[in-house]
């Protein structure tokens, strides 16, 4: 292959290094209205009255929108396929508020300053209601957070259960009872922020035909169009959504966060409107990773083979349920797709509370799955006295294995059969064993104040949502032999435009600079479900490959007509017949435009897959524990991935290098404390600490040789997989260093220290 598997300059790279105005907010618009949201200061209340008269009297305030301005229409803010698997429990503005940060009203004004002043002048009478912060309490409580008859898709509103999953294969209870060894543990994973550096920003205006244009930092332009149309009751044909360059999303922008608000302002006033979240709003009023409490039980036989896995999930959804069912389904499915156990069971509830709203975040439930699973596997290996790598190698699903849970548990509905046509997890573990110096570091004597330890964890993910995610592509040829590639796939900073261009270039035998990519504009590019679920390379890439092949067949057919031959082949960028006649791409297209057999050479295709081949990863973390303070420092991370054929090595490495510090943040540095009123306290980047350049450990990234027969040129997904394993690898390394098991993330130095002290006391 000439283009696939090689580095190429990003197709958007030049504009980005030059700081060109390519992001949503990089434009000036005349007559712009600035929109600000009044967020609830209380965690749970009924709005008795809103008086906006004083605010509206302020010069420069155009309108204050309250619940009185909208007909009640329940929807979900989750940017998912239709019908959405998330409960429809949200109103654009409600008479109830359910968390600190919930929408109360919004203001449109001539300037940001005036909009901010107006917020201060809105008087709201709240009747405060009892609050529920704990998921277990919420299930047992008499208080109903979502009692409206208009909401739909809530699993059990009476018990505040937004979503529920359960599945069993075999007979778990009997298997556990007759297992030679049984291990059990309860773990919790925390609230985490996506923390893209570009905040959510949406701008809307009416175009020359009075159609609504929304330019927004989104991962899901088609879902934005559909949901805005539905919520504001206007035809889809009246809306155009443009996705410019996106300053990071990580799932946070798989949400209709503010698009319907600017759209409402523009439709009511006829004027352009802009809303941008401040960093503080990003932190307390956007979306977070769903925290989960997980109890897991593993049964093993005398040969150390798994007999059963039993998993219980309690997911804290926060105030509303976007992604509640699907994130939990992914937790369940991924936890039960790694190891071959004849008996498996999962039971999970996603529960409403008066805390920030869970959303989509890279890994989408899988990091929550692998923390308990990989912690307990490590514990099991330790108690059984065998090497944790060996225990994993013994029990992982292997090539050609059928993974039964995939069939019964899809994303929010039944799934599809899953056979592993590529699986190099063993190679990942073996390569990581060498690169991390496993044998020497693991067995080194641990003593002194600073103690080093090495831990391992493995994980899988998916490549798109089987049977649901659909991408499409359109390619047209130009007379200089270049091609326009138009895709609905949404590059949110990952480089997917470049990867897709590489796939098209490979098919068409041209260099990447001959492919002009335009992505994601609902007027100009064909449909794509969007950039989530690790779907772009695998699903949208599949569509690009088919479209390019269709275009290539048309080039050949045109070439044959122009050469007046029956047989010919494409060699490089020339159509050649057996009798030696030939015509170049350029000549074919030029003649086809202007002189002979006139037509536009083009190709279009859609792609959907019932397979969702898992990429795999083994992560080795080397840590240093300060036994005096309990502070853990990560020294080195070795991350070895099977992502099938790599399309662009540097970009793929970049995905791993970026995912690892996000996972380390979840494990060690990103804290989301709340006060007793449900107010999130770390409202800036000083206190909500994401990894900086000086926090970074050494990162070693490797990809093992692998080819996925169902993927474009053998590719699987790479974006999410590397975020799943680092957190348990770190806590397993802590155990290796000091013998303490951490079951709750993020690691609290105080908790670690008290466990250490207790351990030493017991030793004496």
């Amino acid at each position: 292959m000439k283009v696939i598997g090689r580095d190429t300059q990003r197709v958007d790279g030049l504009s980005l290094v030059r700081g060109k105005p390519v992001f949503a907010d990089d434009m000036q618009i005349k007559d712009l209205l600035h929109v600000k949201i009044l967020h609830s200061p209380v965690a749970h209340a009924e709005i008795i009255n809103i008086d906006s008269s004083e605010a509206e009297a302020l010069e420069g305030v155009i309108k204050v929108f309250t619940h009185r301005d909208f007909k009640p229409h329940y929807y979900t803010t989750a940017g998912q396929g239709y019908p959405e698997p998330s409960p429809r429990d949200t109103l654009i503005l409600d008479t109830k508020v359910r968390y600190v940060g919930d929408r109360v009203a919004f203001v449109a004004a001539e300037s940001l300053e005036i909009a901010e002043q107006a917020l201060q002048k809105i008087t709201v009478d709240y009747k405060e209601l009892p609050v529920l912060f704990d998921a277990e309490d919420a299930m047992a409580s008499d208080i109903m957070l979502h009692s409206s008859a208009g909401a739909s898709g809530i699993h059990d509103a009476t018990h505040n259960i937004a979503a529920h999953v359960e599945a069993e294969l075999g007979d778990v209870d009997t298997a556990i009872n007759s297992s030679r060894y049984v291990f059990e543990g309860t773990y919790s994973t925390p609230f985490v922020q996506m923390a893209s550096i570009e905040p959510h920003i949406s701008i809307s205006w009416l175009d020359d035909h009075d159609r609504l244009v929304i330019r927004t930092s989104t991962q899901v332009p088609y879902h934005v169009r559909r949901i805005v149309a539905e919520v504001l009751d206007i035809p889809i044909s009246r809306i155009r959504v443009i996705k410019p360059r996106i300053g990071g999303g990580f799932g946070g922008k798989q949400e209709i966060l503010n698009e319907e608000i600017v759209a409402a302002v523009t439709l009511r006033t006829g004027r352009p409107a802009r809303i941008e979240y401040t960093r503080e709003e990003e932190l307390y009023a956007a979306r977070v990773r769903h925290p989960e409490t997980l109890t897991i039980k593993l049964g093993f036989d005398e040969k150390h083979l798994l007999t059963a896995i039993d998993l219980n999930i309690l997911e804290n959804c926060g105030a509303y349920g976007p992604h509640a069912l699907t994130v939990m389904s992914v937790t369940a499915q991924k936890a039960l797709s790694m190891y071959k156990a004849p008996n498996i069971r999962v039971n999970g509830d996603g529960v409403y509370t008066n805390l920030p709203i869970g959303g989509a975040y890279r890994g989408y439930g899988a990091p929550q799955a692998f923390f308990p699973l990989e912690s307990l596997m490590d514990e099991a290996a330790n108690r059984l006295g065998i090497d944790p790598i060996d225990l994993r190698l013994k029990n992982v699903f292997k090539l050609k294995d059928d993974v039964p849970i995939a069939r019964i548990l899809g994303e929010g509905r039944e799934g599809f059969p899953m056979v592993l046509y590529s699986n190099e997890i063993a190679a990942c573990l073996n390569e990581g064993r060498k690169l991390s110096k496993w044998d020497s570091i693991r067995s080194a004597v641990k003593s002194g104040r600073f103690r080093r330890g090495l831990g391992v964890a493995i994980a899988g993910q998916g490549s798109g949502i089987p049977g649901i995610d659909m991408g499409s592509a359109f390619i047209k040829m130009n007379e200089d032999g270049s091609f326009n590639l138009q895709v609905g796939a949404t590059d949110l900073g990952t480089g997917s435009d470049t990867a897709l261009a590489q796939i098209a270039a490979e098919v068409l035998n041209v260099s990447v600079d001959k492919i002009i990519v335009y992505s994601s504009d609902t007027d100009l590019t064909p449909f794509d479900t969007g950039a989530y679920a690790s779907s772009t390379t695998y699903i949208s890439g599949g569509a690009v490959k088919k479209a390019a092949e269709a275009c290539k067949s048309m080039i050949l057919e045109q070439g044959k007509k122009l050469l007046q031959v029956k047989m010919a082949v494409i060699s490089g960028t020339t159509v050649v017949s057996p009798d030696g006649k030939s015509i170049s791409y350029k000549d074919i297209c030029t003649k086809s435009f202007y002189t002979d057999e006139q037509t536009q050479i083009m190709g279009a295709a859609s792609h959907l897959s019932y397979d969702s081949p898992p990429p795999y990863n083994a992560t080795f973390a080397e840590v240093e524990v300060d036994t005096l303070t309990g502070v853990v420092r990560v020294i080195k991370v070795v991350s070895v991935t099977d992502a099938g054929q790599i399309i662009n090595p540097k970009m793929a490495e970049g995905q791993v290098e970026g995912a690892v510090p996000q996972a380390l943040g979840m494990a060690l540095s990103e804290f989301m404390p709340f006060d007793d009123k449900g107010r999130f306290l770390n409202l800036d980047f000083n206190s909500y600490h994401i990894y900086t350049a000086t926090d970074m450990p050494e990162i070693v990234v490797r990809f093992v040789d692998s080819t996925e027969p169902t993927g474009p040129y053998g590719a699987k997904a790479v974006a999410e997989i590397p975020i799943n394993a680092p957190a348990p690898a770190v806590t397993n390394a802590i155990f290796n260093a000091v013998g303490v098991r951490i079951r709750n993330l993020p690691v609290q130095p105080g908790e670690l220290l008290s466990k250490l002290t207790l351990q030493e006391y017991q030793d004496e």
């Binding site: 990003r10 030049l14 992001f23 970049g654 970074m696």
Partner: protein
């Protein structure tokens, strides 16, 4: 009030609102490489050079730039030529979403102008005020290391 300062090589003499930040001013002048990420001097996406030092434009009130030399990434290249750091950021794959890239480039250019020993530690220190959620800083640091050591070598050989 009226202030005078140099912006990307041009002398600016303009009436300003003393309460406006340099970030607000630069973006209103359509210098969009200067990004708005946090408003609190924490993310570094608005880093610009002021008298050769990297500063967060969101923390600078306009009167503070009186008599100063302000440079944004727009001045680093023209339509034909790229700055070495820009070239290496491209070649090394150091750009992902690109939102924090201009701020990183400003920080690294400031380091270059300090004329001190180039080391990975210095580079990491100088990038410490630039948050990036995409790259883990791995490739930006590699690109900077290559670019700055190249410049140093070029400087020594000439």
């Amino acid at each position: 009030m009226i202030i005078e300062f140099e912006l990307n090589g041009r002398l600016i003499n303009t009436k300003i609102d003393p309460g406006k930040t340099l970030l607000e001013y630069l973006r209103s002048e359509e210098l969009y490489s200067v990004k708005h990420g946090c408003d609190h001097g924490e993310c570094g996406a608005c880093s610009v050079l002021i008298n050769d030092k990297a500063m967060n434009a969101c923390l600078i009130l306009m009167p503070m730039v009186e008599g100063k030399r302000v440079e944004t990434i727009e001045s680093f290249s023209d339509h034909k030529n790229l700055h070495d750091l820009q070239k290496l950021f491209l070649a090394e794959g150091a750009v992902q979403c690109g939102f924090c890239t201009p701020g990183m480039l400003a920080a690294l250019e400031a380091l270059k102008r300090e004329n001190i020993e180039v080391s990975e530690e210095n580079i990491r220190d100088s990038l410490n005020g630039n948050l990036c959620r995409c790259t883990g800083y791995v490739k930006p640091v590699e690109a900077a290391l290559k670019s700055l050591s190249q410049m140093k070598n070029d400087g020594e050989s000439s």
